[in-house]
Amino acid sequence: MNATDMKINRNLQILSWFTFLALSTIYFYWFAGYIFFYQEKSSLFLLSFSYFAEHLSQPGGFLVWLAELQTAFYFYPLAGAFIVSIEICICIFIITKIGKVLTRNTFFLIPFLTGAILFYLQANYQYKALNNLGILMQLLVFYLVIRFLAGKWMWVPVSLFPVWYFLTGSFSTLFLILVAFYLILSAEKGKWSKLIVLYVVGAIFFYVAQEFLFFQTIESLLVYPFSEQNIGNQKPLFITVIAIISMLPLIFRFHLKLFFKIEIRRFQIRQITPFLVMAVFAYLAVSRIDKKNSHYFHVEKLFYEKKFDELINYNRQFPSINILTNYLNNIALAETGKLNDMLFQFQQSPDGGTLFLKWELAGEVLKRGGYFYWSLGMINEAQRWPYEFMVMRGNTPEGLKMLIKTDLASGNYNVAQKYISILKQSVFYRREARKFEKLLFDDTAIEKDAELGAKRRLKTKHDFFVLAENPAANLDLIIAADSANRIAAEYKFAWLLLQKDFEGVTKLLPLLKSAGFERIPKNIEEAVVAYSLLNLKKYPEFEGFEINPQTVIRFNEYYGIFQQNRGNKQQAQAALRDYSDTYWYHVVFR
């Protein structure tokens, strides 16, 4: 290779790294920022020695601790996008360097192909930080070993492998395989004895670890911290990238010489491979943008920020059929007193799945189900859901905040203080922790707080056993104890409407007054009008409320169109599209 070639090589290398970094950061920030929101909300990193020590209870815990630290910075999506991008770029850089050490040549295809796969994997919102970080750590240590250690110094990594296994868990297998291939292919003196000792030391340590040191299952000791869920169930692709990385010494040894000789004009094809790889993966990445999850996580973000009106407007603008999205939307509607005005403007689940979630220990339901009860003022139950989640999966920022809020609202200040002290150890939630801290042992401050004061006032007035498997049944128990609970009334009516229970809605109308409604909400009024007109009954009399004549006119129009098209349901549905936000449309077509 002449000097000009070397210069072109170096410039292309630098250009391709920066292009990769820039494109990747832009992609993750602009198109996949929800990944960082989801992951940041899935764990809570604490700056304390005890938190660090907890992670040392099993091999791989240190890597998890580092990854959680990284995830904490996802609080700022731009930081998240930059961190994951730079991590991938470093992987590419190190693989290039490994190639250089092993062959004295600069390679582009394998490093950029590996980087592109890591980028593609990362585009899945469930692909956790520990994976790329784990891979990066193995590559880095392997590079340092082959670059700086040789001869008798090679005994250092061989003998220290147990430490590396303890720190990085199952990811150290990658290092083990890399070293094995490296030793086998090298001319290193005493390579077979080093290889045997490496594996024997590893096996002995594993035996000692599983027999005497760690209270984990053997499967967990072998696999942790890897899990299919943590790679977003992208097993084939993940195995592919691991296979490529673990065989790097082999691949670099037997590289395709012919491929490297192909030239297009002045450029060898290998020099433009980074751009080809990037182009292919950019195309694939765009197709990977997960609009459904992007939409959902944006809604969840607005929900956590209590921007209920913005959330409702967003859902109106971009309607969703996702049950969780509409569940959060319904809470926003209830909190803003619009549930029975706008219920049917959004997709509803007839079994009530969009109103309340059924108790379920598995999955992510536990993380969100409590918000319905918090909205109702069932504070014990609002706490039980995030508490159980915390017991099984550890702290999350929003879960911990809910524990704090429920204990503050209940006046359990000593327990709230503990949770606050934990939140104060976080990286980015200290300000919120201090805000909560000011409310401790101060009933007046709690009463004055917009959210906590409201929930304290809404607290269920009589004790009963919660029916978590039948959330709707709780509404009757709350209303029986406190008919002034407006949110419970909103949900009760919404539930009856979803059940197409005209009569139930009509009978329950007096609740509107005791719950503080000033007018009949739109969807309830539609049910009452339909019930009365279809059954030839008078409108039920209830003090202070009047039926809007426009609703009657609208119903008659609706009914007329429906009668004209009654022979053909599809035709009728198309003709009545303008009424899709009405209770009448729901009754017939959903």
């Binding site: 005497f212 014990n380 359990n412 607290k459 056993f465 919660v466 709780n474």
Partner: protein
Amino acid sequence: MRIRKITLLIILASFIAACSTKPNGNTAWINNRPVIGPDYSGLTIPINIAPLNFTIEENGDAFFVRILDEKGVSIEVSDKRGIIKIPEKKWKNLLRDNKSKKLFYQVYVKRGGEWSQFEPFSNTISDSPVAPYLYYRLLFPGYESWGEISIMQRSLESFEEKVVVQNNVVGQNCVNCHAVNLQNPDNFMFHMRGSRGGTYFVADGDLKKFNLKTKEMENSATYPRWHPSGKYVAFSSNKVVQQFHSLESKKIEVTDLASALVLYDLAKNEIMEIQVNQKRQFMDTYPEWSPAGDWLYFCRAAQIEKEYDYRDIKYNLYRVNFNPSNRTFGEVEMVFDAAALGKSVSFPRVSPNGKLLVFTLHDYGCFPVWHKEADLYSIKPDDFSVAKLEVNSDFSESYHSWSANGRWLVFSSKRGDGLSARPYISYVDENGVALKPFVLPQENPKFYNRFLKTFNIPEFAESEFSFTPGEIRKAARQEAIQPKWSDK
């Protein structure tokens, strides 16, 4: 040049004086005792207890504590944040040299450059040592789910804590009720629920898994108590339901729908009904043996009907005579009629000398852990006279257990925050009077402020033991040994 040096020395000396961590010269007097956490004042403490580290919860720029014996020998500790960690070696020596004597605590605070001294407080060192080890289960005081659950062994003479059993070793099974016989860990057992479920016994130094539910039993063996001979274990066999309150004062309600007593004979590997309730009129639970093994105490309530009000279930304390040679039981005798007081009894525990039985008294049911009103009471088996112990708080006290010398009682109390139980240790004098309890000391005195897990079923032990992860896995993989049902 010389003047410059002197000036520098004066500045340096002033700086050192200003930063002094120890009062020197005149100190002002504060007419009250300092607030310390945990409250380790006015106690009777065991001669072999680990240092009672504490924090001074007063405002100040620096703090200084001097712990003196009657001869004036002292330990001095200072800290800017008021975190008082007493050197272990000096503490041990001080306790050893002051058997049955008092220790005095002088607490100083520095505010605005001036030192002030609080009114001192004292503790008395008992000549009765506490058992060297404490066993407890550490878990989140949760409701349905569990994460990591461990049975831990803590040295009471130091801060060393180690795992005895942890559920993760067999994959998220739930480890529950453990029992040690007469503080001797050679007779140890625990239950495990889940894929590797069973009752695990230490037998001949090995851990073995048993399935204590036979086809003749309606429910599994639950709450265990070892017969002092180590030959038998009495269990209650319970059918339990749990429900969740909507109001915050009491979060969870655990109710027995049915329960009976069974006896497991280790030598014969037989399990039999304790025939005290053949007509199934009662729910019997929480067995407890007298130290001689000739009486079996238990709690009994009327069998509930299909429609019941959980608040009406009241358990009384009963006992029945037992003949260990032929495994026969005599006539049942009521020991304490709690229902007559509108109350309910649980967790009877007889002192090693048999002169005192301590139980938990609460409003209803048999699961007082979530009952704020649950308090510890004692009854003398000789004359059935009852007294409330002076160790109670506004929160739940339960799961108590005696030391082998009968001088120390450990119990779980939720007085800290109402949610997580902590082990409290109290000295019980020869008249059965329990003195002011103290919480299990921790190296970091702020430990309890952040620790969320609960200390469940604390029990003293005279020696240490633990299982390696490999031993537990090996036992878990074994086929459970099935005892035979015996009608006699």
